[in-house]
Protein backbone atom coordinates (compact mmCIF):
# COMPACT_ATOMS: atom_id res chain seq x y z
CA UNK A 1 0.00 0.00 0.00
CA UNK A 2 1.14 3.51 -0.77
CA UNK A 3 0.60 6.87 0.88
CA UNK A 4 -1.01 8.12 -2.35
CA UNK A 5 -3.63 5.39 -2.03
CA UNK A 6 -4.64 6.75 1.38
CA UNK A 7 -4.84 10.23 -0.14
CA UNK A 8 -7.12 9.02 -2.93
CA UNK A 9 -9.40 7.29 -0.48
CA UNK A 10 -9.63 10.46 1.59
CA UNK A 11 -10.59 12.44 -1.50
CA UNK A 12 -13.34 9.96 -2.29
CA UNK A 13 -14.69 10.03 1.23
CA UNK A 14 -15.39 13.77 1.23
CA UNK A 15 -16.76 13.75 -2.27
CA UNK A 16 -18.57 17.08 -2.25
CA UNK A 17 -15.79 18.92 -0.53
CA UNK A 18 -13.33 17.51 -3.05
CA UNK A 19 -15.62 18.59 -5.89
CA UNK A 20 -15.80 22.10 -4.40
CA UNK A 21 -12.02 22.39 -4.39
CA UNK A 22 -11.74 20.98 -7.90
CA UNK A 23 -14.36 23.43 -9.17
CA UNK A 24 -12.66 26.42 -7.59
CA UNK A 25 -9.37 25.49 -9.25
CA UNK A 26 -11.22 24.73 -12.48
CA UNK A 27 -12.72 28.22 -12.57
CA UNK A 28 -9.34 29.83 -12.03
CA UNK A 29 -7.56 27.63 -14.54
CA UNK A 30 -10.29 28.08 -17.15
CA UNK A 31 -10.27 31.88 -16.93
CA UNK A 32 -6.51 32.06 -16.75
CA UNK A 33 -6.07 29.70 -19.65
CA UNK A 34 -8.61 31.32 -21.93
CA UNK A 35 -7.43 34.85 -21.15
CA UNK A 36 -3.77 34.06 -21.69
CA UNK A 37 -4.53 32.07 -24.82
CA UNK A 38 -6.54 34.93 -26.30
CA UNK A 39 -3.89 37.46 -25.29
CA UNK A 40 -1.17 35.35 -26.77
CA UNK A 41 -3.16 34.78 -29.94
CA UNK A 42 -3.89 38.45 -30.37
CA UNK A 43 -0.25 39.25 -29.93
CA UNK A 44 1.01 36.70 -32.44
CA UNK A 45 -1.81 37.40 -34.87
CA UNK A 46 -1.07 41.08 -34.90
CA UNK A 47 2.62 40.49 -35.34
CA UNK A 48 2.20 37.94 -38.06
CA UNK A 49 -0.51 39.98 -39.68
CA UNK A 50 1.63 43.04 -40.20
CA UNK A 51 4.53 40.96 -41.33
CA UNK A 52 2.36 39.06 -43.76
CA UNK A 53 0.62 42.01 -45.19
CA UNK A 54 4.09 42.95 -46.31
CA UNK A 55 3.07 46.58 -46.55
CA UNK A 56 4.41 49.22 -44.22
CA UNK A 57 1.96 51.85 -45.40
CA UNK A 58 -1.51 51.72 -46.81
CA UNK A 59 -2.52 54.80 -48.76
CA UNK A 60 -6.27 55.35 -48.82
CA UNK A 61 -8.63 58.25 -49.55
CA UNK A 62 -8.56 60.60 -46.59
CA UNK A 63 -12.33 60.44 -46.25
CA UNK A 64 -12.29 56.66 -46.05
CA UNK A 65 -9.81 56.46 -43.21
CA UNK A 66 -12.11 54.83 -40.67
CA UNK A 67 -13.52 52.40 -43.20
CA UNK A 68 -10.04 51.47 -44.33
CA UNK A 69 -8.98 50.68 -40.78
CA UNK A 70 -12.01 48.46 -40.31
CA UNK A 71 -11.17 46.67 -43.52
CA UNK A 72 -7.55 46.24 -42.64
CA UNK A 73 -8.25 44.93 -39.14
CA UNK A 74 -11.57 43.20 -39.35
CA UNK A 75 -11.83 42.51 -43.06
CA UNK A 76 -15.12 44.35 -43.28
CA UNK A 77 -15.99 44.56 -46.96
CA UNK A 78 -15.86 48.14 -48.09
CA UNK A 79 -15.43 50.17 -51.19
CA UNK A 80 -13.74 53.50 -51.54
CA UNK A 81 -11.94 54.95 -54.47
CA UNK A 82 -9.32 57.47 -55.50
CA UNK A 83 -7.54 58.34 -58.71
CA UNK A 84 -5.50 55.64 -60.36
CA UNK A 85 -2.50 57.90 -60.97
CA UNK A 86 -1.90 58.15 -57.22
CA UNK A 87 0.05 54.89 -57.36
CA UNK A 88 2.56 56.42 -59.76
CA UNK A 89 2.85 59.54 -57.64
CA UNK A 90 3.44 57.44 -54.52
CA UNK A 91 6.10 55.44 -56.30
CA UNK A 92 8.14 58.60 -56.90
CA UNK A 93 8.19 59.65 -53.27
CA UNK A 94 11.42 59.40 -51.32
CA UNK A 95 11.79 56.21 -49.28
CA UNK A 96 9.20 54.22 -51.20
CA UNK A 97 10.70 50.94 -52.25
CA UNK A 98 7.67 49.40 -53.88
CA UNK A 99 4.05 50.37 -54.38
CA UNK A 100 1.17 48.35 -55.68
CA UNK A 101 -2.45 49.33 -56.07
CA UNK A 102 -5.57 47.39 -55.21
CA UNK A 103 -9.19 47.90 -56.10
CA UNK A 104 -12.00 46.81 -53.80
CA UNK A 105 -15.36 45.60 -54.84
CA UNK A 106 -18.12 44.01 -52.76
CA UNK A 107 -19.97 40.96 -53.95
CA UNK A 108 -23.59 41.60 -54.67
CA UNK A 109 -26.08 40.29 -52.16
CA UNK A 110 -28.22 37.68 -53.77
CA UNK A 111 -31.37 36.48 -52.17
CA UNK A 112 -30.82 32.84 -52.88
CA UNK A 113 -27.15 32.18 -53.03
CA UNK A 114 -24.87 31.69 -50.12
CA UNK A 115 -22.18 33.97 -51.39
CA UNK A 116 -22.82 37.14 -49.46
CA UNK A 117 -20.74 40.12 -48.76
CA UNK A 118 -17.27 39.08 -49.70
CA UNK A 119 -14.53 41.53 -50.35
CA UNK A 120 -13.22 41.25 -53.88
CA UNK A 121 -9.75 42.60 -54.31
CA UNK A 122 -8.30 43.36 -57.66
CA UNK A 123 -4.55 43.55 -57.64
CA UNK A 124 -1.85 44.33 -60.11
CA UNK A 125 0.04 41.09 -60.76
CA UNK A 126 3.11 42.82 -62.09
CA UNK A 127 3.72 44.97 -59.00
CA UNK A 128 1.99 42.93 -56.27
CA UNK A 129 4.09 41.97 -53.27
CA UNK A 130 1.50 41.24 -50.62
CA UNK A 131 -0.74 38.54 -52.10
CA UNK A 132 1.34 36.12 -54.10
CA UNK A 133 3.90 35.29 -51.39
CA UNK A 134 1.11 33.64 -49.40
CA UNK A 135 -0.08 31.26 -52.07
CA UNK A 136 0.06 27.80 -50.53
CA UNK A 137 1.03 26.39 -53.92
CA UNK A 138 2.80 28.71 -56.29
CA UNK A 139 1.08 29.18 -59.61
CA UNK A 140 3.11 28.19 -62.61
CA UNK A 141 1.51 30.79 -64.88
CA UNK A 142 -0.22 34.16 -64.59
CA UNK A 143 -3.92 34.18 -63.58
CA UNK A 144 -6.40 34.14 -66.42
CA UNK A 145 -9.37 36.47 -66.44
CA UNK A 146 -11.74 33.83 -65.10
CA UNK A 147 -9.47 32.68 -62.31
CA UNK A 148 -9.34 33.74 -58.68
CA UNK A 149 -7.40 33.14 -55.48
CA UNK A 150 -9.18 32.63 -52.16
CA UNK A 151 -8.34 33.76 -48.65
CA UNK A 152 -7.98 30.98 -46.13
CA UNK A 153 -11.17 31.70 -44.22
CA UNK A 154 -13.36 31.09 -47.23
CA UNK A 155 -13.18 27.38 -46.66
CA UNK A 156 -16.35 26.63 -48.58
CA UNK A 157 -14.40 26.88 -51.81
CA UNK A 158 -11.66 24.48 -52.67
CA UNK A 159 -9.13 24.82 -55.38
CA UNK A 160 -10.84 23.65 -58.54
CA UNK A 161 -14.33 24.73 -57.52
CA UNK A 162 -16.28 27.47 -59.20
CA UNK A 163 -17.94 30.53 -57.80
CA UNK A 164 -20.29 32.89 -59.54
CA UNK A 165 -19.44 36.55 -59.10
CA UNK A 166 -21.76 39.11 -60.68
CA UNK A 167 -23.02 36.40 -62.98
CA UNK A 168 -19.61 35.27 -64.13
CA UNK A 169 -18.23 31.85 -63.21
CA UNK A 170 -14.80 32.15 -61.70
CA UNK A 171 -12.53 29.22 -61.08
CA UNK A 172 -10.59 28.93 -57.83
CA UNK A 173 -7.00 28.19 -58.78
CA UNK A 174 -5.16 29.10 -55.59
CA UNK A 175 -5.57 29.34 -51.87
CA UNK A 176 -3.65 31.65 -49.57
CA UNK A 177 -2.11 30.48 -46.33
CA UNK A 178 -3.73 31.73 -43.15
CA UNK A 179 -2.45 35.21 -42.30
CA UNK A 180 -4.63 36.05 -39.32
CA UNK A 181 -5.56 39.28 -41.09
CA UNK A 182 -9.21 39.16 -41.98
CA UNK A 183 -8.47 41.61 -44.75
CA UNK A 184 -6.57 38.86 -46.51
CA UNK A 185 -8.17 35.73 -45.07
CA UNK A 186 -11.72 36.71 -46.01
CA UNK A 187 -11.13 38.16 -49.44
CA UNK A 188 -11.26 36.93 -53.00
CA UNK A 189 -8.35 38.01 -55.16
CA UNK A 190 -8.10 38.47 -58.87
CA UNK A 191 -6.08 40.57 -61.28
CA UNK A 192 -7.47 44.03 -61.80
CA UNK A 193 -8.20 43.25 -65.45
CA UNK A 194 -10.42 40.34 -64.43
CA UNK A 195 -12.37 42.56 -62.13
CA UNK A 196 -12.93 45.09 -64.88
CA UNK A 197 -14.23 42.33 -67.11
CA UNK A 198 -16.66 41.15 -64.45
CA UNK A 199 -17.95 44.66 -64.05
CA UNK A 200 -18.27 45.19 -67.78
CA UNK A 201 -20.10 41.92 -68.39
CA UNK A 202 -22.44 42.41 -65.46
CA UNK A 203 -23.96 45.45 -67.11
CA UNK A 204 -25.40 43.42 -69.97
CA UNK A 205 -26.33 40.23 -68.12
CA UNK A 206 -29.99 39.67 -67.42
CA UNK A 207 -31.03 39.29 -63.82
CA UNK A 208 -27.63 40.35 -62.58
CA UNK A 209 -26.98 43.49 -60.66
CA UNK A 210 -24.37 45.68 -62.28
CA UNK A 211 -21.07 45.77 -60.47
CA UNK A 212 -20.51 49.46 -61.15
CA UNK A 213 -16.78 49.44 -60.79
CA UNK A 214 -15.65 53.01 -61.39
CA UNK A 215 -13.27 53.43 -64.30
CA UNK A 216 -9.67 54.41 -63.67
CA UNK A 217 -9.97 54.32 -59.92
CA UNK A 218 -8.11 52.41 -57.25
CA UNK A 219 -8.93 51.82 -53.58
CA UNK A 220 -5.55 51.68 -51.96
CA UNK A 221 -1.86 51.74 -52.59
CA UNK A 222 0.21 49.33 -50.54
CA UNK A 223 3.70 50.64 -49.92
CA UNK A 224 6.92 48.97 -48.95
CA UNK A 225 9.38 51.36 -47.37
CA UNK A 226 13.11 51.30 -47.99
CA UNK A 227 15.00 49.83 -45.05
CA UNK A 228 17.00 52.97 -44.22
CA UNK A 229 13.95 55.15 -43.60
CA UNK A 230 11.09 54.93 -41.13
CA UNK A 231 7.54 54.22 -42.26
CA UNK A 232 6.29 57.23 -40.29
CA UNK A 233 8.48 59.62 -42.26
CA UNK A 234 7.46 58.18 -45.58
CA UNK A 235 3.81 58.45 -44.52
CA UNK A 236 4.31 62.14 -43.79
CA UNK A 237 5.98 62.62 -47.18
CA UNK A 238 3.07 60.94 -48.94
CA UNK A 239 0.42 62.97 -47.17
CA UNK A 240 2.41 66.13 -47.87
CA UNK A 241 2.88 65.42 -51.57
CA UNK A 242 -0.55 64.10 -52.43
CA UNK A 243 -3.74 65.87 -51.48
CA UNK A 244 -6.76 64.02 -50.21
CA UNK A 245 -5.02 60.81 -49.13
CA UNK A 246 -4.26 59.25 -45.79
CA UNK A 247 -1.13 57.16 -45.40
CA UNK A 248 -1.88 54.62 -42.69
CA UNK A 249 1.20 53.13 -41.08
CA UNK A 250 0.00 49.56 -40.69
CA UNK A 251 2.13 48.99 -37.65
CA UNK A 252 0.41 51.94 -35.95
CA UNK A 253 -3.08 50.84 -36.81
CA UNK A 254 -2.36 47.47 -35.36
CA UNK A 255 -0.54 48.66 -32.28
CA UNK A 256 -3.31 51.06 -31.34
CA UNK A 257 -5.74 48.15 -31.41
CA UNK A 258 -3.30 46.12 -29.46
CA UNK A 259 -3.21 48.79 -26.77
CA UNK A 260 -6.98 48.94 -26.50
CA UNK A 261 -7.24 45.20 -26.39
CA UNK A 262 -4.65 44.85 -23.74
CA UNK A 263 -6.46 47.29 -21.49
CA UNK A 264 -9.54 45.12 -21.85
CA UNK A 265 -7.70 41.88 -21.36
CA UNK A 266 -5.82 43.25 -18.40
CA UNK A 267 -9.07 43.90 -16.57
CA UNK A 268 -10.21 40.36 -17.33
CA UNK A 269 -6.84 39.22 -16.13
CA UNK A 270 -7.27 41.14 -12.86
CA UNK A 271 -10.58 39.40 -12.34
CA UNK A 272 -8.92 36.04 -12.73
CA UNK A 273 -6.28 37.08 -10.22
CA UNK A 274 -9.05 37.91 -7.74
CA UNK A 275 -10.64 34.53 -8.45
CA UNK A 276 -7.28 32.96 -7.91
CA UNK A 277 -6.80 34.58 -4.50
CA UNK A 278 -10.30 33.49 -3.52
CA UNK A 279 -9.57 29.92 -4.55
CA UNK A 280 -6.34 30.07 -2.58
CA UNK A 281 -8.21 31.17 0.54
CA UNK A 282 -10.97 28.62 0.05
CA UNK A 283 -8.55 25.74 -0.34
CA UNK A 284 -6.51 26.97 2.62
CA UNK A 285 -9.62 27.04 4.81
CA UNK A 286 -10.80 23.64 3.61
CA UNK A 287 -7.45 22.05 4.25
CA UNK A 288 -7.26 23.60 7.72
CA UNK A 289 -10.63 21.99 8.34
CA UNK A 290 -9.42 18.69 6.96
CA UNK A 291 -6.38 18.76 9.20
CA UNK A 292 -8.42 19.62 12.30
CA UNK A 293 -10.96 16.96 11.53
CA UNK A 294 -8.33 14.32 10.98
CA UNK A 295 -6.15 15.29 13.88
CA UNK A 296 -6.64 11.97 15.63
CA UNK A 297 -6.20 10.03 12.42
CA UNK A 298 -2.94 11.81 11.79
CA UNK A 299 -1.83 11.02 15.35
CA UNK A 300 -2.71 7.38 14.78
CA UNK A 301 -0.75 7.26 11.54
CA UNK A 302 2.21 8.74 13.40
CA UNK A 303 1.89 6.09 16.10
CA UNK A 304 1.97 3.44 13.36
CA UNK A 305 5.28 4.81 12.21
CA UNK A 306 4.38 7.52 9.71
CA UNK A 307 7.17 10.09 9.69
CA UNK A 308 6.57 13.82 9.58
CA UNK A 309 7.43 13.64 5.90
CA UNK A 310 4.82 10.92 5.32
CA UNK A 311 2.10 13.09 6.85
CA UNK A 312 3.21 16.14 4.90
CA UNK A 313 3.23 14.11 1.70
CA UNK A 314 -0.20 12.69 2.45
CA UNK A 315 -1.80 16.13 2.78
CA UNK A 316 0.13 17.52 -0.17
CA UNK A 317 -0.76 14.55 -2.36
CA UNK A 318 -4.42 15.20 -1.66
CA UNK A 319 -3.98 18.86 -2.50
CA UNK A 320 -2.03 18.05 -5.66
CA UNK A 321 -4.53 15.52 -6.95
CA UNK A 322 -7.42 17.93 -6.36
CA UNK A 323 -5.70 20.96 -7.84
CA UNK A 324 -4.27 19.11 -10.82
CA UNK A 325 -7.66 17.65 -11.67
CA UNK A 326 -9.09 21.15 -11.35
CA UNK A 327 -6.31 22.48 -13.56
CA UNK A 328 -6.78 19.86 -16.27
CA UNK A 329 -10.54 20.32 -16.20
CA UNK A 330 -10.12 24.10 -16.33
CA UNK A 331 -7.80 23.93 -19.32
CA UNK A 332 -10.21 21.66 -21.14
CA UNK A 333 -13.18 23.89 -20.34
CA UNK A 334 -11.22 27.05 -21.16
CA UNK A 335 -10.03 25.50 -24.42
CA UNK A 336 -13.51 24.34 -25.39
CA UNK A 337 -14.85 27.75 -24.44
CA UNK A 338 -12.51 29.70 -26.70
CA UNK A 339 -12.99 27.13 -29.44
CA UNK A 340 -16.77 27.30 -29.29
CA UNK A 341 -16.82 31.08 -29.03
CA UNK A 342 -13.93 31.72 -31.39
CA UNK A 343 -16.20 33.42 -33.89
CA UNK A 344 -17.66 35.66 -31.22
CA UNK A 345 -14.22 36.45 -29.83
CA UNK A 346 -13.00 37.39 -33.28
CA UNK A 347 -15.93 39.57 -34.14
CA UNK A 348 -16.34 41.23 -30.75
CA UNK A 349 -12.66 41.99 -30.44
CA UNK A 350 -12.70 43.07 -34.07
CA UNK A 351 -9.22 41.81 -34.64
CA UNK A 352 -7.30 39.44 -36.76
CA UNK A 353 -7.05 36.24 -34.83
CA UNK A 354 -4.88 33.17 -34.97
CA UNK A 355 -4.51 30.22 -32.66
CA UNK A 356 -1.21 30.03 -30.84
CA UNK A 357 1.30 27.65 -32.33
CA UNK A 358 1.40 24.12 -30.86
CA UNK A 359 4.55 24.99 -28.93
CA UNK A 360 2.96 28.09 -27.44
CA UNK A 361 -0.11 26.03 -26.64
CA UNK A 362 1.98 23.49 -24.78
CA UNK A 363 3.77 26.24 -22.88
CA UNK A 364 0.46 27.87 -21.93
CA UNK A 365 -0.96 24.54 -20.79
CA UNK A 366 2.16 23.84 -18.77
CA UNK A 367 2.01 27.27 -17.13
CA UNK A 368 -1.67 26.87 -16.27
CA UNK A 369 -1.13 23.38 -14.89
CA UNK A 370 1.79 24.59 -12.85
CA UNK A 371 -0.25 27.51 -11.51
CA UNK A 372 -3.13 25.20 -10.58
CA UNK A 373 -0.79 22.86 -8.81
CA UNK A 374 0.90 25.77 -7.07
CA UNK A 375 -2.51 27.09 -5.99
CA UNK A 376 -3.58 23.84 -4.36
CA UNK A 377 -0.29 22.95 -2.80
CA UNK A 378 0.41 26.54 -1.79
CA UNK A 379 -2.91 26.81 -0.01
CA UNK A 380 -2.47 23.43 1.69
CA UNK A 381 1.12 24.11 2.66
CA UNK A 382 0.48 25.73 6.02
CA UNK A 383 -2.14 23.18 7.14
CA UNK A 384 0.18 20.39 6.02
CA UNK A 385 3.08 21.80 8.02
CA UNK A 386 0.83 22.25 11.04
CA UNK A 387 -0.39 18.65 10.84
CA UNK A 388 3.13 17.39 10.45
CA UNK A 389 4.33 19.25 13.54
CA UNK A 390 1.64 17.99 15.92
CA UNK A 391 2.92 15.71 18.63
CA UNK A 392 1.38 12.28 18.02
CA UNK A 393 0.05 11.89 21.55
CA UNK A 394 -1.51 15.37 21.60
CA UNK A 395 -3.01 14.77 18.17
CA UNK A 396 -4.61 11.51 19.28
CA UNK A 397 -5.92 13.04 22.50
CA UNK A 398 -7.00 16.31 20.89
CA UNK A 399 -9.08 14.55 18.30
CA UNK A 400 -11.03 12.50 20.81
Amino acid sequence: MKVSHIALKNIKRKFFRSIAIIISVTVVAATLFSVTTVMDSVETSLEKGTARLGADIMVVPAKAQAQAKATLLAGEPSTFYMDRNIVDRVRKIEGVKAASSQVFLKTAKYKCCAVNDMQLIGFNPSTDFSIKPWLIKKLSRPLRDNEIIMGRELTAFDVGSSIRIYGKDMKVVGMLDETGMKFIDNSVFMPYSAMEKISEESKTKKGVKAANLPIDKISTVLVQVAPEISAERVAIFIEHEIDGVKALVTEHVISSVRKQLFVLLRSVFSISIILWVMALLLIGVVFSMIVNERQREIGLLRSMGASKGNIFRLIMTEASILSLSGGILGIIIGGVFIYVFRGLIRSSLNIPYLWPSPLEFIILIAICLFLSLATGTGAALYPAIRSMRMEPYEAIRGGE
Binding site: R13, L300, S303, A306, S307, G309, Y393
Partner: protein
Protein backbone atom coordinates in the same frame (compact mmCIF):
# COMPACT_ATOMS: atom_id res chain seq x y z
CA UNK B 1 14.73 -4.82 26.18
CA UNK B 2 12.67 -1.91 27.51
CA UNK B 3 14.42 0.15 30.10
CA UNK B 4 12.73 3.16 31.67
CA UNK B 5 14.68 5.35 34.05
CA UNK B 6 13.36 8.17 36.27
CA UNK B 7 10.70 9.04 33.77
CA UNK B 8 8.52 12.10 34.54
CA UNK B 9 5.88 14.03 32.68
CA UNK B 10 3.82 16.87 34.09
CA UNK B 11 0.95 18.83 32.61
CA UNK B 12 -0.19 22.29 33.42
CA UNK B 13 -3.94 22.50 33.48
CA UNK B 14 -4.80 26.10 34.21
CA UNK B 15 -2.87 26.85 37.39
CA UNK B 16 -2.72 23.19 38.49
CA UNK B 17 0.29 21.08 37.81
CA UNK B 18 -0.57 17.43 37.19
CA UNK B 19 2.20 14.90 37.61
CA UNK B 20 0.88 12.40 35.07
CA UNK B 21 4.00 10.23 35.31
CA UNK B 22 6.10 10.72 38.37
CA UNK B 23 9.68 9.49 38.40
CA UNK B 24 8.99 5.98 37.11
CA UNK B 25 11.62 3.33 36.47
CA UNK B 26 10.89 -0.03 34.90
CA UNK B 27 12.71 -2.88 33.23
CA UNK B 28 10.91 -5.22 30.87
CA UNK B 29 12.61 -8.31 29.49
CA UNK B 30 12.06 -9.61 26.00
CA UNK B 31 8.92 -11.77 25.75
CA UNK B 32 7.40 -10.59 29.00
CA UNK B 33 3.64 -10.45 29.33
CA UNK B 34 2.78 -7.82 31.89
CA UNK B 35 -0.06 -5.60 32.92
CA UNK B 36 -0.40 -2.18 34.48
CA UNK B 37 -3.55 -1.63 36.51
CA UNK B 38 -4.76 1.74 37.72
CA UNK B 39 -7.72 4.03 38.04
CA UNK B 40 -8.68 6.39 35.34
CA UNK B 41 -6.41 9.42 35.45
CA UNK B 42 -3.54 7.60 37.18
CA UNK B 43 -1.21 8.19 34.21
CA UNK B 44 -1.29 4.85 32.38
CA UNK B 45 -1.91 6.26 28.90
CA UNK B 46 0.71 8.95 29.35
CA UNK B 47 3.20 6.30 30.49
CA UNK B 48 2.57 4.08 27.44
CA UNK B 49 2.85 7.09 25.14
CA UNK B 50 6.20 7.97 26.65
CA UNK B 51 7.49 4.43 26.13
CA UNK B 52 6.15 4.35 22.56
CA UNK B 53 7.72 7.67 21.67
CA UNK B 54 4.47 9.51 21.12
CA UNK B 55 5.18 12.22 23.65
CA UNK B 56 8.39 13.63 25.04
CA UNK B 57 9.18 13.19 28.74
CA UNK B 58 10.15 16.15 30.92
CA UNK B 59 12.97 14.10 32.35
CA UNK B 60 14.26 10.54 32.39
CA UNK B 61 15.07 8.12 29.60
CA UNK B 62 13.39 5.35 27.66
CA UNK B 63 15.58 2.86 25.91
CA UNK B 64 14.31 0.18 23.59
CA UNK B 65 16.69 -2.62 22.67
CA UNK B 66 19.50 -0.38 23.78
CA UNK B 67 18.41 2.74 21.84
CA UNK B 68 17.61 5.84 23.85
CA UNK B 69 14.50 6.75 21.89
CA UNK B 70 14.47 10.39 22.89
CA UNK B 71 18.00 11.00 21.65
CA UNK B 72 17.40 9.88 18.07
CA UNK B 73 15.91 11.87 15.20
CA UNK B 74 12.18 12.02 14.64
CA UNK B 75 12.57 9.99 11.46
CA UNK B 76 14.49 7.27 13.27
CA UNK B 77 11.90 7.28 16.02
CA UNK B 78 9.10 6.94 13.45
CA UNK B 79 10.93 4.01 11.92
CA UNK B 80 11.30 2.44 15.34
CA UNK B 81 7.56 2.82 15.96
CA UNK B 82 6.89 1.41 12.56
CA UNK B 83 9.00 -1.70 12.93
CA UNK B 84 9.36 -2.49 16.62
CA UNK B 85 6.51 -1.03 18.64
CA UNK B 86 2.84 -1.11 18.00
CA UNK B 87 -0.17 0.27 19.80
CA UNK B 88 -3.61 -1.10 20.45
CA UNK B 89 -6.03 1.51 21.73
CA UNK B 90 -9.10 1.56 23.87
CA UNK B 91 -11.04 3.36 21.16
CA UNK B 92 -11.67 2.51 17.57
CA UNK B 93 -8.46 3.37 15.84
CA UNK B 94 -9.29 2.25 12.32
CA UNK B 95 -9.18 4.77 9.49
CA UNK B 96 -12.78 5.16 8.31
CA UNK B 97 -11.88 5.63 4.62
CA UNK B 98 -10.02 2.35 4.40
CA UNK B 99 -11.51 -1.14 4.40
CA UNK B 100 -10.33 -3.88 6.77
CA UNK B 101 -7.49 -5.23 4.63
CA UNK B 102 -6.25 -1.72 3.89
CA UNK B 103 -6.39 -0.82 7.56
CA UNK B 104 -4.40 -3.90 8.44
CA UNK B 105 -1.82 -3.10 5.76
CA UNK B 106 -1.65 0.57 6.76
CA UNK B 107 1.62 0.47 8.75
CA UNK B 108 3.39 -1.06 5.74
CA UNK B 109 2.66 2.15 3.80
CA UNK B 110 5.29 3.81 5.97
CA UNK B 111 7.87 1.04 5.77
CA UNK B 112 10.67 1.26 3.34
CA UNK B 113 10.33 -2.36 2.34
CA UNK B 114 7.04 -2.56 0.43
CA UNK B 115 7.04 -6.26 -0.25
CA UNK B 116 4.04 -8.17 -1.52
CA UNK B 117 4.49 -10.80 1.16
CA UNK B 118 2.61 -8.47 3.52
CA UNK B 119 -0.65 -9.31 1.77
CA UNK B 120 -0.47 -12.98 2.66
CA UNK B 121 0.51 -12.18 6.20
CA UNK B 122 -2.35 -9.67 6.50
CA UNK B 123 -4.79 -12.38 5.40
CA UNK B 124 -3.30 -14.76 7.89
CA UNK B 125 -3.66 -12.23 10.71
CA UNK B 126 -7.23 -11.40 9.74
CA UNK B 127 -8.01 -15.11 9.90
CA UNK B 128 -6.29 -15.38 13.26
CA UNK B 129 -8.48 -12.63 14.72
CA UNK B 130 -11.50 -14.24 13.08
CA UNK B 131 -12.89 -11.57 10.76
CA UNK B 132 -11.97 -13.17 7.42
CA UNK B 133 -15.47 -12.56 6.07
CA UNK B 134 -15.10 -8.81 6.68
CA UNK B 135 -11.97 -8.13 4.63
CA UNK B 136 -13.65 -5.67 2.31
CA UNK B 137 -15.88 -4.08 4.95
CA UNK B 138 -15.40 -0.54 6.16
CA UNK B 139 -15.04 0.25 9.88
CA UNK B 140 -18.57 1.70 10.04
CA UNK B 141 -19.90 -1.70 8.94
CA UNK B 142 -18.19 -3.55 11.80
CA UNK B 143 -19.19 -4.08 15.42
CA UNK B 144 -16.99 -2.68 18.18
CA UNK B 145 -15.44 -6.11 18.76
CA UNK B 146 -14.73 -6.63 15.07
CA UNK B 147 -13.14 -3.21 14.84
CA UNK B 148 -10.86 -4.04 17.76
CA UNK B 149 -9.90 -7.34 16.14
CA UNK B 150 -8.98 -5.53 12.94
CA UNK B 151 -6.88 -3.07 14.96
CA UNK B 152 -5.14 -6.00 16.62
CA UNK B 153 -4.37 -7.62 13.28
CA UNK B 154 -2.92 -4.28 12.18
CA UNK B 155 -0.72 -4.10 15.26
CA UNK B 156 1.00 -7.33 14.25
CA UNK B 157 1.50 -6.68 10.53
CA UNK B 158 5.04 -5.34 10.77
CA UNK B 159 6.02 -8.18 13.15
CA UNK B 160 6.76 -5.84 16.05
CA UNK B 161 8.68 -6.95 19.08
CA UNK B 162 6.63 -4.85 21.50
CA UNK B 163 2.87 -4.34 21.77
CA UNK B 164 1.62 -1.50 23.93
CA UNK B 165 -2.07 -2.12 24.57
CA UNK B 166 -4.05 0.66 26.23
CA UNK B 167 -7.24 -0.88 27.69
CA UNK B 168 -7.57 -3.00 24.55
CA UNK B 169 -10.79 -4.64 25.69
CA UNK B 170 -12.22 -1.63 27.49
CA UNK B 171 -15.64 -1.47 25.92
CA UNK B 172 -16.03 -5.09 24.89
CA UNK B 173 -18.13 -7.89 26.37
CA UNK B 174 -16.50 -10.43 28.63
CA UNK B 175 -16.47 -13.24 26.11
CA UNK B 176 -14.64 -11.15 23.52
CA UNK B 177 -12.34 -9.88 26.24
CA UNK B 178 -11.23 -13.41 27.11
CA UNK B 179 -10.81 -14.32 23.44
CA UNK B 180 -8.60 -11.32 22.84
CA UNK B 181 -6.49 -11.99 25.93
CA UNK B 182 -6.01 -15.57 24.73
CA UNK B 183 -4.95 -14.25 21.34
CA UNK B 184 -2.36 -12.02 23.03
CA UNK B 185 -1.08 -14.94 25.06
CA UNK B 186 -0.68 -17.00 21.92
CA UNK B 187 1.18 -14.22 20.14
CA UNK B 188 3.38 -13.84 23.18
CA UNK B 189 4.14 -17.55 23.36
CA UNK B 190 4.55 -18.28 19.65
CA UNK B 191 6.29 -15.13 18.48
CA UNK B 192 7.98 -13.93 21.63
CA UNK B 193 6.31 -10.55 21.41
CA UNK B 194 6.59 -8.42 24.53
CA UNK B 195 3.23 -7.18 25.83
CA UNK B 196 2.49 -4.21 28.08
CA UNK B 197 -1.23 -4.27 28.71
CA UNK B 198 -2.85 -1.37 30.49
CA UNK B 199 -6.19 -2.00 32.12
CA UNK B 200 -8.31 -0.78 34.96
CA UNK B 201 -9.60 -4.30 35.58
CA UNK B 202 -7.69 -6.43 38.10
CA UNK B 203 -9.62 -9.43 36.74
CA UNK B 204 -8.06 -9.01 33.36
CA UNK B 205 -4.64 -8.40 34.88
CA UNK B 206 -4.72 -11.90 36.35
CA UNK B 207 -4.18 -13.25 32.83
CA UNK B 208 -0.70 -11.71 32.73
CA UNK B 209 2.52 -13.02 34.19
CA UNK B 210 3.55 -9.86 35.96
CA UNK B 211 1.38 -7.08 37.33
CA UNK B 212 2.14 -3.46 38.09
CA UNK B 213 -0.06 -0.92 39.73
CA UNK B 214 -0.17 2.76 38.81
CA UNK B 215 -1.33 5.39 41.27
CA UNK B 216 -1.06 9.14 40.83
CA UNK B 217 1.76 8.76 38.35
CA UNK B 218 3.78 6.34 40.48
CA UNK B 219 4.39 2.76 39.37
CA UNK B 220 4.74 -0.15 41.77
CA UNK B 221 4.93 -3.90 41.37
CA UNK B 222 1.73 -5.50 42.60
Amino acid sequence: MIEVKDLSKTYKVGTDIVKAVDNVSLKVEKGEFLSIVGHSGSGKTTFLSLIGGLTKPDSGTVSIEGTDIWSISDNKLSELRNLKINFIYQFSSLIPTLDVIENVLLPTAFSRDKDKKYCDYAMELIETVGIQDKIKSYPSQLSGGQQRRAAIARAFINRPSIILADEPTGDLDEETEIEIMNLFKEMNKNNGITFLIVTHSSELAKHTNKQYRMLNGKLNEA
